[in-house]
């Protein structure tokens, strides 16, 4: 009798544990989940510890950092006159969606979640630096992703290479016949190419055509460089094409990023 009761109790506890586990998994894997105050606080504490642990290793990148700064300074000097010109034109045309209209925040990558499924980075800037969800993240090589799960002192960057169902970027392909819009919708891990599917087969796309963000949808500003077309495949009925885009950015080796904060 006692043993039977004990067995029953064990089964009930197991069922409760399984139910709670499923609930927790459903909660944590939900893509629309916002960080709670407690979670944000714990995440900030974890990031602080990580920064201390990483400190000796970040010096490894000092040389790279100098190169990037140098390149940035050179580019800035070259672009001074162009920026003035663009500013005048922007005022004249009242355009707010050009990149020069964005305030930028530079940040250091403190952690790389290398899981195949969730391709994300953690950076060392958060709400205190004025960052918020869905802000655009770039490097000197072009677009890399957008912000999600921003805490006071850290943010997560979801890379454009993440094979997430909700990870879509509206892009524009510069062809010989003008521009055509498409949706960037995945990443081919084996070939290292970003994929654009369902492009009209009538559009004369060639290898080497430049792909940039189109600005449609409002999430990403227009004109951020993504890469060049390297592979073109037609479907078996010849109705649409799938493109493979080669980026200049090595997504396995990102240490410094720039966040476009929003219109200044």
């Amino acid at each position: 009798m006692y043993q039977k009761k004990r067995k029953k109790k064990k089964i009930i506890i197991t069922c409760i544990v399984i139910f709670v586990s499923f609930f927790l998994l459903f909660y944590s894997l939900s893509s629309t989940r916002k960080l709670s105050v407690v979670e944000s606080f714990l995440k900030d504490a974890a990031v602080s510890i990580q920064k201390i642990v990483m400190m000796p290793f970040t010096s490894l990148n000092a040389e790279k950092d100098e190169d990037a700064t140098e390149s940035y300074v050179i580019q800035k000097n070259i672009n001074v006159h162009l920026e003035e010109e663009i500013e005048q034109l922007r005022k004249a045309l009242d355009l707010n969606q050009t990149l020069t209209g964005y305030e930028v925040v530079n940040a250091t990558v403190i952690n790389r979640n290398r899981s195949y499924w969730y391709q994300t980075l953690t950076i060392d800037k958060g709400k205190k630096a004025g960052l918020a969800d869905n802000m655009v993240v770039i490097t000197k090589d072009g677009l890399i992703g957008k912000l999600q799960k921003v805490t006071n002192y850290s943010s997560e960057v979801k890379l454009i290479t993440a094979n997430d169902i909700n990870n879509k970027v509206s892009v524009s392909i510069a062809t010989t016949d003008g521009e055509t819009d498409a949706i960037l919708s995945g990443y081919n891990q084996e070939e290292g190419l970003v994929e654009i599917s369902s492009v009209d087969s009538q559009v004369p796309i060639q290898v080497g055509d430049v792909v940039t963000t189109s600005g449609l949808g409002g999430m990403f500003p227009r004109g951020i460089y993504i890469g060049t077309v390297e592979k073109i495949e037609s479907d078996k009925y010849g109705l649409s094409k799938t493109l493979g885009v080669k980026t200049t950015q090595n997504f396995n080796n990102i240490h410094y990023v720039t966040v476009l904060k929003g219109a200044s």
Binding site: S28, V53, L60, N113
Partner: protein
């Protein structure tokens, strides 16, 4: 000792996943899962107190989520399931250097399959068998080597702290 091994592995996971591509120029075939590997290696230290082991593994899984994934409780639960598997295998196997390799491979493969299954049932990312194969093969090498290093490190410890 066991706590130190797992906590060092937790930080090594972060450090190496950041710096392997930098040092070895994009080696995506070396995906470190040192925390999970170390959990399997330290089981013999807790053989007399399994409850303590499970609580410790759950906390480490929670910290792993906090540090590296932002998927609160996912790895805490998966690490715990992995700990149950390790405990079961230790009852059936006598751990030596070779069986340790098999144990790590089984542990990592089960973890990745369970993770893929979860992502599939919660419809997070599109899952294919090729992708699962890719992640498993790219995880095994570095972690088996790390597991063996830890095994021999524990094996040559002073007798009272030794494995088995």
């Amino acid at each position: 000792m066991a706590y130190a091994i797992v906590i060092i592995s937790l930080f090594l996971d972060g450090i190496l996943s950041n710096f392997i591509p930098y040092m070895l120029n994009d080696s995506s075939w070396l995906i470190p899962m040192f925390t999970l590997t170390s959990i399997g290696i330290v089981y013999p230290f807790f053989q007399k107190e399994p409850r303590k082991y499970y609580v410790f593994v759950f906390i480490i899984g929670f910290l792993y989520d906090l540090f590296y994934t932002n998927l609160l409780f996912t790895n805490a639960i998966l690490f715990l399931l992995s700990a149950f598997l390790i405990a079961f295998l230790h009852r059936k196997l006598r751990v030596q250097w070779f069986s340790n390799i098999l144990l790590i491979m089984l542990q990592l493969t089960t973890y990745q399959l369970l993770y893929a299954f979860l992502l599939f049932i919660f419809n997070v990312v599109p899952i294919t068998w090729e992708a699962i194969g890719y992640i498993i093969t790219h995880t095994l090498l570095i972690n088996v080597i790390y597991g063996e290093i830890l095994y021999f490190l524990c094996y040559f410890l002073p007798k009272k702290r030794r494995l088995n």
